[in-house]
Symmetry: C2
Subunit: 154 residues, 2 copies
């Protein structure tokens, strides 16, 4: 084993727990990461949605940060998030329907639609309120299009 | 209210629940997003760490995806994640120590160190195993440096 390999092994052996997700340690790491991605969509969409709805004052800087984050999260490669046997029929604690794996190409296309819609929001969120409002519908549509087909209702 | 504002309001009113994180709905959205970010660090670091340690075979493509994701997550703007009164003294369900808010500039610097270390991994992860191993120590160090000071031990 090379010196750098040993150093890496040592660091991982001693800090392994530091990388474990803080919650739901019983769920596979991929499922925790899925939920984590949705939680980050939710936070940034909440900030943007509250402004679009007039629940909070429009703030160009904050809108720009939230929208850039949303676009960055939506553009990550999500291929590692959906391993086999992590659907509603296989494990507790997920709402991911087996249909995701049956219609994977369509599911991936809907993910790509979300990324595009988020980029559209990011391109205008810092301009003004009307521009933000005009772009939010696309994201709402992208969220709904995927959830309707591929997420178990509560 | 403009037509687009109304459309946005309608979409958010009807799909609001779709944006809620799937877990811990009792925790503030920012805390859920923090945990979600860590869960995504954990997944990608797990993939990379298992390869670096020889627990799984090195795969240049998968390593490249995981490292690019890690760098993307680490480079998001994290300013929205740490609102006041979301520390261990204020709420249950977090390990974020009050010291974060006391030493915010240092905390932010450690976040920036993590982003830099993740970019270093992303720049070499797809090259070969030795290059990946050589870069992983930097990330492990960045994780530990922040957790040691700012995260409550289990």
């Amino acid at each position: 084993m090379s010196k750098s390999a040993f150093a890496a092994a040592f660091i991982f052996a001693t800090t392994g727990l530091a990388f474990a997700g803080p919650d739901h340690d019983d769920l596979p790491a991929e499922v925790q990461a899925r939920h984590g991605l949705m939680a980050n969509y939710a936070l940034n969409l909440g900030v943007l949605g509250d402004m679009a709805k007039g629940k909070t004052d429009y703030n160009a800087e904050v809108a720009g940060v939230a929208a850039a984050n949303l676009a960055a999260f939506a553009n990550t490669d999500q291929s590692l998030l959906w391993p086999a046997d992590t659907d509603t029929m296989s494990i507790e604690g997920t709402r991911a329907l087996p249909k995701i794996w049956d219609d994977r190409a369509d599911f991936d296309a809907k993910e790509a639609d979300m990324a595009k819609a988020a980029e559209m929001v990011a391109s205008v969120a810092g301009t003004d309120l009307a521009a933000l409002q005009g772009a939010m519908g696309g994201v709402g549509g992208a969220c709904g299009a995927c959830h309707k087909l591929y997420r178990e209702p509560k």
